[in-house]
């Protein structure tokens, strides 16, 4: 835990977004929109909430993080680099032949707990992590970040039943509720609401928060478990592409390969955010 102050957290989140923009200006581009909607969640986790140590990425007592929405890999790589798990310079290799930074997270990257990318896998994995910790008598918590579109996968709900049945209260799920998926608004494609009630109905403790309010995220995630014997889920209301007004909330921001011009434009916007961060 770093117990970062609010200004530092805001700066970190902006830097994470800058790294993502740079990766999306590379030859392959990347899933920018979902990485930006999740950037503040991952910043809150890695710079405040989670017990992780880049010098000891395999420490048994560490908290675990599973990026179940594995397509936000650029966001995870950016966060891990900013946190010191891998050199920031290495991010420039993203999408280039020979890089270990694949388009979906791989365990070859320090800090990545599980390879993900096929949606609907992370919550069951998280159940296994949390169950193992409980059997070992370890205090560690397991955080699983899912997309809201991902909740359309049936396997999520198998795991939701499983986690509640096992009473895995050191398991904390976060839903990045950006309300957009590849081709359009999530709720126009599949009925998602009442989302909080659905999770409650499955036996989970539920909270909702503004997924771009770092203090609110730290408060909610830092205090989980919220109810003894129940897994926790935070529904984080987010905006896809948040941080770049010319892309925010637009379907087109799902996957972005920046032209040099748009990359410069993004960097300029983020540069102004940085100045605001530091006041």
């Amino acid at each position: 835990m770093t117990a970062a102050g609010p200004v530092e957290l805001r700066e970190r989140a902006t830097r994470v977004r800058e790294h993502i923009a740079d990766m999306c200006a590379g030859p392959e581009g990347g899933h920018l929109g979902g990485a930006y909607s999740a950037a503040d969640i991952m910043t809150a986790l890695y710079f405040d909430v989670m017990n992780v140590d880049p010098a000891r990425p395999d420490a048994p007592e560490r908290d675990r993080f599973v990026l179940s929405k594995g397509h936000a890999a650029v966001g995870l790589y950016a966060t891990l680099a900013e946190r010191g798990f891998l050199p920031v310079d290495e991010l420039a290799s993203y999408g280039r032949p020979g890089s270990r930074l694949m388009g979906h997270p791989v365990r070859a990257v320090p800090g990545v707990e599980a390879a993900t990318g096929s949606l609907g896998h992370g919550l069951a994995l998280g159940c296994g992590f949390a169950l193992g910790a409980r059997l070992d008598g370890r205090d560690s918590r397991t955080f699983v970040l899912m997309g809201d579109g991902e909740l359309q996968e049936g396997s999520v709900w198998e795991a939701a039943i499983g986690a509640a049945s096992l009473g895995l209260d050191r398991l904390v799920a976060v839903v990045d509720r950006n309300s957009l998926q590849l081709t359009g608004p999530t709720d126009s494609i599949a009925a998602m609401e009442p989302l909080a009630d659905r999770w409650r109905g499955f036996g989970w403790a539920v909270q909702e928060a503004d997924g771009h309010d770092l203090a609110a995220l730290v408060r909610a995630l830092g205090t989980a478990p919220w109810e003894p014997g129940r897994p926790s889920v935070l529904i984080a209301r987010t905006v896809k592409g948040r941080g770049l007004p010319f892309l925010e909330g637009r379907t087109a921001c799902h996957y972005v390969t920046f032209s040099a011009r748009n990359h410069a434009k993004a960097r300029a916007v983020l540069g102004r955010s940085r100045k605001e961060d530091t006041g």
Binding site: H121, A124, F129, G132, S155, E158
Partner: protein, 319 residues
């Protein structure tokens, strides 16, 4: 022609029960082991009590089973997961591939009701593609113990095996393999010597069909070697090529579609290393449309000693 004088085979036994009865005491001696169930009914109250916290019934949720097993294995555990072969290899395949095989985790997939073992329950419960599917996955060891003793040996050997393991088990009592050659994962058992043809079997009934067919062929002067190719991945290519050396014909017998399983594996290996004619006996290219138990279905679809011997005779006559 030489034959091995075999001791009387053990009585028929249930491989899934042999697995269970070997695992339960091991749970008490090896702290890595877990037994994760999907309400299969294989474990009774006494087993569950003996297993204590090492046994968990996760409900009817096979994807979740594989994911939880992977998460536990990441933390140093060795989960034995329990479901039917059809569900392990089809329904839960993506979790097996992505969450278990890709990170090469030591999860033991104990798949009951292999092949036609579900009998009259029909094609929804038959598993005739599982071996093809599983053996294509890198890192996955694929074993079909031919009897109860071999199953117990597989459970024991699995404790030292790196990476994931798929074990196809049965449902009801099946024949025991004659002879006393030890079961070693990855090493084919040579059950009978012979020079004219090689019969390669996989699983209880096919191996029994091979040994019986070899006897029938011997009566008509054809010398048939028999291999129990219980491990499909990694395939014991050396034993196969040694047995096939000088033979004019290799016949594979399996309780599986004719494509992709034992016959496919043998053809791949021999085509590359030591080309020889191969006949594949297995489930015809159709879903079962007849009612009956496992033995009835095997007979109906020609996975038998008589069919094997007849196929050899016809092929040799045609030469």
């Amino acid at each position: 022609m030489t034959t091995t004088a075999a001791p009387a085979p053990a009585a028929p036994a249930v491989t899934r029960e042999a697995y269970r009865d070997r695992l339960i005491p091991l749970l008490g001696t090896d702290p890595r082991l877990m037994c994760l169930d999907t309400d299969t009914g294989l474990f009774g109250a006494a087993h569950i009590e003996a297993a204590g916290e090492r046994y968990l019934n996760l409900g009817i949720a096979e994807h979740n089973l594989m994911g939880i097993a992977a998460g536990l294995a990441f933390g140093g555990r060795m989960p034995f997961v329990n479901t039917m072969a059809g569900f392990a290899s089809s329904r839960a395949l993506e979790a097996v591939k992505v969450d278990i095989a890709y990170p090469a985790l030591p999860v033991r997939i104990m798949a009951t009701h292999g092949g036609l073992a579900a009998g009259h329950l029909g094609p929804t419960h038959h598993a005739l593609e599982d071996l093809a599917v599983m053996r294509t996955l890198p890192t996955m060891t694929v074993v079909v113990p031919a009897d109860a003793a071999a199953t117990a040996a597989v459970v024991e050997q699995s404790l030292d095996l790196p990476g994931p393991l798929y074990v196809r088990l049965g449902r009801k009592a099946t024949p025991a393999v004659p002879g006393d050659e030890p079961m070693v994962i990855g090493r084919a058992q040579r059950l009978r010597e012979g020079g004219d043809v090689v019969l390669v079997g996989c699983g209880p009934y096919p191996v029994a069909a091979c040994t019986e067919a070899a006897g029938l062929l011997g009566e008509s002067g054809v010398s048939a070697a028999v291999l129990n190719m219980h491990t499909l991945s990694p395939l014991d290519t050396e034993s196969l090529c040694t047995a096939a050396s000088g033979a004019s014909l290799v016949v594979t017998v399996e309780e599986h579609w004719r494509s992709g399983g034992l016959g496919g594996a043998v053809c791949e290996a021999l085509a590359e290393r030591q080309p020889v004619r191969v006949l594949r006996i297995g489930m015809p290219d159709q879903f079962s449309d007849t009612v009956g138990g496992q033995e009835h279905l095997l007979d109906h679809y020609g996975i038998t000693a008589a069919r094997t011997a007849a196929a050899v005779t016809a092929a040799l006559e045609a030469n």
